[in-house]
């Protein structure tokens, strides 16, 4: 008797819920926290724009948080912990440190929140997916372009940004592997600019001083590239070719002036969009996997193409 009424009640509740769904036909919003490495940086602003575009397509609410500028991983770990406490549906994270963020990420996953890695991966196999540039391929492509454009043989320098940054390690590895396959060039010991243009300029000057016959320099991120370009411009060494990853208006100027031979562009907007899309699809229960975003190779002939202009020159707002 009681069981029967309980069954009927359950039936009624199901029908009621079905009524809710049939009547309103809309899915709930997902709350997604986007934790980046520096909210004031153009790159991450662009990631956020892409993320917001995906948010409106997938009916999600994306909140960007993170330190204002790229700093120690500890600050990001604290921000991640605060985010977990707010219990968003998913977290999209650009790890400040490949190893040291592994545990905080594990804590988030243990709290039942799926974590999608964007741009910078973390040493944790239980993240939902990685969305961003294939840094190994990025390094390889850079080496490939370099080999194609420079005849003969000689020494090649690398200006990287962090010893223990996973993207830096991957880019360098890809670059070195591809270069050594070519056998024409000797790759020198890597110097580090620590994501600071002035520091990168200094180490590049030192590098050139140590190796006057340097044929080319590969700079592995925007600040390394800017520093290297400034150093080369200051020294007037147009014979040393600069191959860079990421571009800025300053670098565009150096390219126009012939200091910078080629840049590889990443697509932060796409990273933002795809990472949030991946997070939402994961929340919907779909199977998601890693996704590599586009890489564009730009030189002076294509610098002002519509397609790249917006990636290089940010709108002033």
């Amino acid at each position: 008797m009681k069981r029967g009424i309980a069954l009927l009640l359950v039936l009624a509740l199901l029908l009621g819920e079905a009524g809710c769904l049939a009547g309103f036909g809309a899915k709930r919003e997902y709350a997604v926290d986007l934790i980046v490495k520096g909210t004031n940086m153009d790159f991450w602003k662009s990631v956020n724009e892409g993320a917001q575009a995906a948010a409106s397509d997938y009916r999600a609410a994306v909140t960007m948080t993170g330190p204002a500028i790229e700093k120690d991983y500890r600050q990001q770990a604290g921000i991640l912990k605060d985010s977990v406490a707010r219990r968003p549906d998913a977290i999209v994270l650009a790890a400040a440190d490949y190893e040291k963020m592994a545990q905080p990420v594990q804590d988030a996953i243990d709290a039942g929140i799926p974590v999608v890695m964007v741009d910078s991966d973390v040493n944790n196999s239980r993240t939902a997916a990685y969305v961003g540039t294939n840094n190994l391929a990025l390094g390889r492509t850079l080496a490939d372009r370099l080999c194609r454009q420079i005849k003969g043989s000689g020494e090649v320098g690398i200006v990287s940004f962090m010893q223990n940054s996973y993207p830096a390690i991957q880019r360098e590895k890809g670059f070195r592997d591809a270069i050594s396959a070519n056998r024409r060039f000797t790759v020198l010991n890597t110097v580090y600019g620590y994501s600071d243009s002035a520091q990168a300029e200094k180490v590049t000057e030192e590098l050139i001083a140590r190796h006057p016959k340097l044929k080319a320099v590969a700079a592995l991120n925007q600040w390394s590239s800017e520093g290297a370009a400034r150093a080369l411009s200051k020294l007037g060494r147009k014979d040393v070719r600069l191959f860079a990853i990421d571009c800025s208006p300053e670098l565009a100027m150096y390219m126009e002036e012939g200091v910078l031979s080629m840049v590889l562009l990443q697509n932060p907007y796409q990273m933002g969009y795809d990472s949030v899309e991946t997070a939402c699809r994961c929340l919907r229960g779909e199977k998601v996997g890693d996704k590599f975003t586009d890489i564009y190779s730009v030189d002076i002939t294509t610098l002002f193409d519509d397609k790249y202009e917006q990636l290089i020159f940010p709108f002033e707002s």
């Binding site: 509740l13 009621g16 009547g23 020159f313 002033e316």
Partner: protein, 592 residues
């Protein structure tokens, strides 16, 4: 003696508890059906209301979309118009002042949203500029599309796509360039050149960045369909086509509704009057779904409460409907078990009332039939009784008459007279009208007459003694109870003795009962015969008198009364007769 009927004595009320649960019961069926119908109705109404709200909201979306779009279009129009006016003023000044002089005067036109105003001669050499920064010499001005466009097109002015301007070293502002051919007279000769006004793109962007209602957006194309401004430009470059992008071929001036990939879109196209641009506003017509995803919690709670209320209501209503039937069912169950019940209610729901009424009639009819059957059965018993009585009388009469004949033959007149007298008295009592019950005194008198007759017949070979307790003499007893027993005692008991036989007859009160006892000291009855002596067995002729008496008593007074025979071989037999103690003859016949 018939037992009084008790059918209507103790009535039990109508049952009030819930009927036991059965899936296939009418209650559950009715509940499920009402529930189903109500929910279907609620869903249908919700759907209709929802569709109506959707339509209304979509209409308002379309209207507000068109409104905002035309507002934005007129703002941009006005803005471009301002820029054109500025260029007009500068063009006029060119006629009044030499280039060097003009450089100092142009600053009045500088505003935050104007990047540069400059005039180039036909070879691309800058003549006039708003500020003193050195223009780059490494770019060929004459190759720029704004330069070539203005010099070749027949239009008064040209508005470029947004682009990165590279006039100064290291500066890459996003601008929209208004360029036009200008001519001025200086020192009597006419000069031709190109003037540009670089408008900061952020201004246009700001004008367009007004969000339309419900996630809509505004974008601008030129007449060729190339995008001038699109809030999701990067998305398009990244190869992700926005879901709500309207198909290009469906764009026509004014407000319309088109089918996009993600559903219906409200699209409003407004062509600017002085720029060759089209301002296009796009909004998804998602109706209610536009607003914040799913339903609010309170709506959900309300719907769940409604569902619960419908459930409770359907259970209650169906119970109300089924309850009378269930009551009737319980009553029928009781009646079928032979219990007494109250009549079924005939008020309330019409059908159930009619059913109850019919049921009551049926029960009444059954009871009448039961009474009738009982009456008929009693009549049958009485006739059987009469037959038994009739059986006794001739039997005894023949024997006595035989004795009289025998006495008469022996010439003993005195004893013949005595016997005939006793016989006469005996029959006077036996045939005392239709009365089935006589007093104990009469019965004892009767049996004494019989004993007188029999004692003579058996040649005084036995003696008898009759005792009667005070107060039972006037009690009532069925007639001719003792005579067959005494006959049996004589024939099978003392009759077999040559002399010294004794028969003791007593009547006494035992509790609420009357007890006769007939004791003889005859040869007794064999145990195997004794065991079955009172059973109704047509094949056995022995003790037929005892059986008759026993049956008659049980028929007339009830199953608990009757005879009890105790006997021991060569010691004697005692027959006890148990009867109800009455002083009035019981009513004849059964109930009714």
């Amino acid at each position: 003696m018939p037992r009084p009927t008790r059918i209507f004595r103790r009535a039990r009320g109508v049952p009030k508890r819930l009927p036991p649960f059965r899936w296939n019961s009418l209650w559950m069926l009715t509940a499920a059906v009402t529930l189903g119908i109500s929910l279907v109705a609620v869903l249908a109404i919700t759907k209709i209301v929802y569709a109506h709200a959707n339509q209304t909201i979509n209409q308002s979306i379309e209207q507000s979309n068109a409104q905002i779009d035309s507002n934005v279009a007129s703002s941009i129009d006005q803005y471009v118009h301002e820029m054109v006016s500025i260029s007009d003023s500068v063009a006029n000044l060119l006629n009044e002042f030499p280039a060097a002089e003009l450089n100092r005067r142009l600053f009045v036109f500088l505003r935050e949203d104007i990047e540069t105003i400059a005039v180039f001669d036909r070879s691309g050499t800058p003549l006039v500029a708003t500020d003193n920064r050195a223009m780059r010499s490494d770019i060929s001005v004459t190759q720029q599309s704004w330069f070539t466009g203005a010099s070749t097109s027949g239009r008064r002015y040209l508005i470029s796509q947004p682009h990165v301007q590279r006039l100064y070293r290291g500066e890459y502002p996003w601008v929209i360039t208004l360029s036009r051919s200008v001519s001025w007279v200086q020192n009597g000769s006419k000069h031709y050149g190109i003037m540009i006004v670089d408008m900061n793109f952020s201004r246009i962007k700001y004008l367009c960045s007004r969000d339309l209602e419900s996630g809509g957006y505004i974008y601008i194309t030129d007449q060729m369909g190339d995008v001038v401004y699109h809030p999701k430009q990067q998305m398009i470059y990244a190869g992700i086509l926005p879901k709500d992008a309207p198909p290009e071929e469906n764009l026509s001036e004014g407000s319309s509704v088109v089918d996009g990939r993600g559903g219906k879109l409200a699209v409003c196209v407004k062509t600017l009057s002085n720029a060759a641009w089209r301002v296009i506003g796009v909004t998804s017509m998602n109706g209610l779904a536009t607003y914040d995803g799913g339903p609010d919690t309170y709506v959900e709670v309300a719907i769940l409460l409604l569902a619960a209320a419908i459930l409770a209501g359907s259970l209650f209503i169906s119970r109300q409907m089924v309850q009378p039937l269930h009551n009737l069912m319980t009553l029928m169950g009781r009646v079928s078990k032979g219990e007494e019940t109250a009549p079924a209610p005939v008020t309330g729901i019409y059908e159930a009332g009619r059913l109850g009424d019919s049921f009551n009639r049926m029960v009444t009819r059954i009871r009448q039939l039961m009474v009738q059957v009982r009456t008929e059965q009693e009549q049958l018993h009485r006739s059987e009784l009469k037959t038994l009585n009739a059986q006794i009388n001739p039997h005894f009469l023949y024997n006595t008459l035989d004795s009289v004949v025998w006495l008469a033959q022996s010439g003993d007149e005195k004893r013949v007279v005595q016997m005939v007298l006793a016989l006469s008295k005996y029959f006077r009592l036996s045939l005392s009208g239709a009365k089935d019950f006589i007093t104990v005194g009469e019965e004892l008198q009767q049996v004494e007459n019989y004993l007188i007759i029999q004692k003579m017949r058996f040649g005084d070979s036995f003696t008898y003694q009759i005792t009667c307790e005070n107060g039972v003499r006037s009690a009532k007893t069925p007639k001719i109870v003792l005579q067959p027993i005494v006959e049996n005692a004589i024939v099978h008991g003392v009759g077999t003795l040559s002399e010294g036989g004794k028969i003791a007859i007593a009547a006494k009160r035992t509790g609420e009962e009357l007890e006769f006892s007939v004791r003889d000291n005859g040869c007794g009855i064999k145990p195997d015969v004794l065991a079955h002596i009172l059973e109704r067995n047509p094949s056995s002729r022995s003790g037929i008198g005892l059986k008759n008496v026993h049956q008659r008593i049980r028929l007339a007074c009830g199953q608990e009364y009757g005879l009890k025979v105790e006997s021991e071989l060569d010691e004697g037999t005692t027959v006890r007769v148990r009867l109800p103690l009455h002083y009035d003859a019981p009513r004849k016949g059964g109930a009714g």
